[in-house]
Symmetry: C2
Subunit: 193 residues, 2 copies
Amino acid sequence: MTHKERTRARILDEAAQAMREHGHAGIGVASLMKRAGLTHGGFYAHFSDRNDLVAAAIDRMFEDSASMLARHLEQDDARGGLASLIDYYLSDSHRERVAKGCPIAALGSEAGRLPSAARERFEAGLERFQAAISKALRNLGFSDPDEQASSTVAEMVGALMLARATRDARTAGLMLAHSRERLKQRLGLIAAH
Amino acid sequence: MTHKERTRARILDEAAQAMREHGHAGIGVASLMKRAGLTHGGFYAHFSDRNDLVAAAIDRMFEDSASMLARHLEQDDARGGLASLIDYYLSDSHRERVAKGCPIAALGSEAGRLPSAARERFEAGLERFQAAISKALRNLGFSDPDEQASSTVAEMVGALMLARATRDARTAGLMLAHSRERLKQRLGLIAAH
DNA sequence: TGTACATCAGTGAACGCGCGTTCACTGATGTAC
DNA sequence: TGTACATCAGTGAACGCGCGTTCACTGATGTAC
């Protein structure tokens, strides 16, 4: 990895974090470059324009997302893996760390307004996310894994987003806990009560 | 209602629609006033500044939301009312009409970045939405209506948002259909299959 | 080993533009007499 | 009924500012001989 490649990666890391935290319009070229320890003029040595950056930053976010999924789902205990994914995704720590967390919950309602290249990457990332959950459910023996995955991802993303919209940490935590319990129960990961 | 009040209402209607469609940063004072058939200078006769408008526009959106909820839930058939709410909320027509639809799905992931007055109104609107669902579930005899409402609203909002992030109308429609079925089944509104 | 030179990542001043906001002004409306 | 005047919603030019983008330049690095 050359010096230039490392610099580009650093800019992308910062962009991927800043955009999850401040939205796609919330971070400018100048402040982004400053975060990466550079001046704004150098930006165009790495990206053709801002839209190019946004698209690459979306991909970068979904790399985090993919390794998070792999960490939980690619283990011997399929049932425990899915349960630990749900527990992590709907945890207070994930709720608090928007900048490092799931791009779908961080940017979901902005997806349709992203510049078109970025929007395509977002949609591809969402599909990969749903496919990973679907695969896990198929491995657990579900006969309709795609349908279950679609519904499961909707509740995961929705619950995290709503918890983040709620300022009171206790209330937000309860919302996450409710969805955690319902989801695991519904997917047969804990006993019904 | 005076002439001035009607003008203010017209500006707010336009703002509430434009912000759901383009995000809170996606509509400027000048273009908003143009949409309302006025020039930008007159804006400050109606609002103290842009933040004031954003907060009032959020309230305006949740008025639409409240009347949508009432239309479905305030009818004699409680079970049928909740089912028709779910069918409408997760319909293709709601998916297509962001500007007139649920503000939670339209702005959810931006909520934490709204100016503070607007953020408070958003959170209050979200609470009212959840309370309305909870009340409906209590009327249907659920022993844990708040927990069920929290999980139900999460999936409704999440599914609509993800369907809107999906450009292919058929795929988007399927996502809505999956959540519609799961939700109604889970809440005992249709027979399990 | 030491000098000369090409490369190129990064710098920083400058650009045009659209933003939110201000403010002196206009002109339609309605009241006073 | 007709004239004089006060009110005030709305106009449009102007402001300072931060944005994305361009580009002539700098200066560290590594190769050639």
